[in-house]
């Protein structure tokens, strides 16, 4: 049910982590996934425009 709510309505993704019997609170943010997505998009742009300029060069 929580997954159907927007980020404003959804409760914060707070995780409790136990270390040596003590509990601490961590907030989760998918920084790795976002970095991967950005790198993937950049790679896609590099490949696309690489072929684009190569094709243009061949028409000259």
């Amino acid at each position: 049910m929580d997954t159907l709510l927007s980020s404003e309505q959804r409760p914060e993704q707070i995780h409790t982590v136990s270390e040596n019997g003590n509990e601490r609170v961590e907030k989760f943010f998918p920084s790795g996934a976002i970095a991967f997505f950005i790198v993937l998009v950049i790679l896609c742009l590099v490949i696309w425009f690489g072929i684009y300029f190569l094709m243009i060069e061949r028409t000259k």
Partner: protein, 151 residues
């Protein structure tokens, strides 16, 4: 309600797609590259030959068949514009000059035409890139662009 992160991703994706479409349209208008077209079938095109229209304009009647192109060697002077008229005597063949972005199909009963200018001297390979049988991998020809006269 759309999540804020999803809105950001949609905007990024939409921007990139718009960039791709704009780049293609810009290149099409600026470089005016020729697109292959189909002509009404005429038996005259089934005789392979190279016609010289003037010093810088040539016509090539290219005929594909298992597993060769005729003519196999086309001599063109550098700087000339060539009209390729392509057909096939049997199955569907490909006609690809990678260095000049020529990409056509040779189909029995049709004439496929495109125009290209050869501004740099060299040997341009024509390969069949549509599987046509046991000898497909050996099916090739050449356009030889050199100085100063064509054969």
């Amino acid at each position: 309600m759309i999540d804020k992160a999803e809105k950001v991703v949609i905007m990024i994706t939409g921007t990139i797609l718009a960039l791709f479409v704009f780049s293609i349209l810009y290149a099409k208008t600026k470089y005016k590259s020729d697109i292959p077209e189909c002509l009404p079938y005429d038996k005259a095109y089934t005789e392979p030959k190279v016609n010289k229209i003037d010093e810088k304009t040539y016509q090539v009647f290219a005929v594909a068949q298992m597993w060769t192109f005729q003519p196999a060697e086309i001599y063109i002077p550098v700087g000339s514009e060539v009209d390729f008229f392509l057909t096939s005597k049997d199955v569907v063949h490909g006609f690809n000059i990678a260095q000049k972005n020529i990409n056509m199909m040779a189909i029995y009963g049709t004439i496929n035409k495109t125009t290209v200018r050869f501004d740099k001297p060299g040997v341009y390979d024509i390969v069949c890139h549509e599987y046509c049988g046991a000898g497909h991998q050996n099916m090739r020809a050449q356009v030889i662009v050199n100085y100063p006269k064509a054969k």
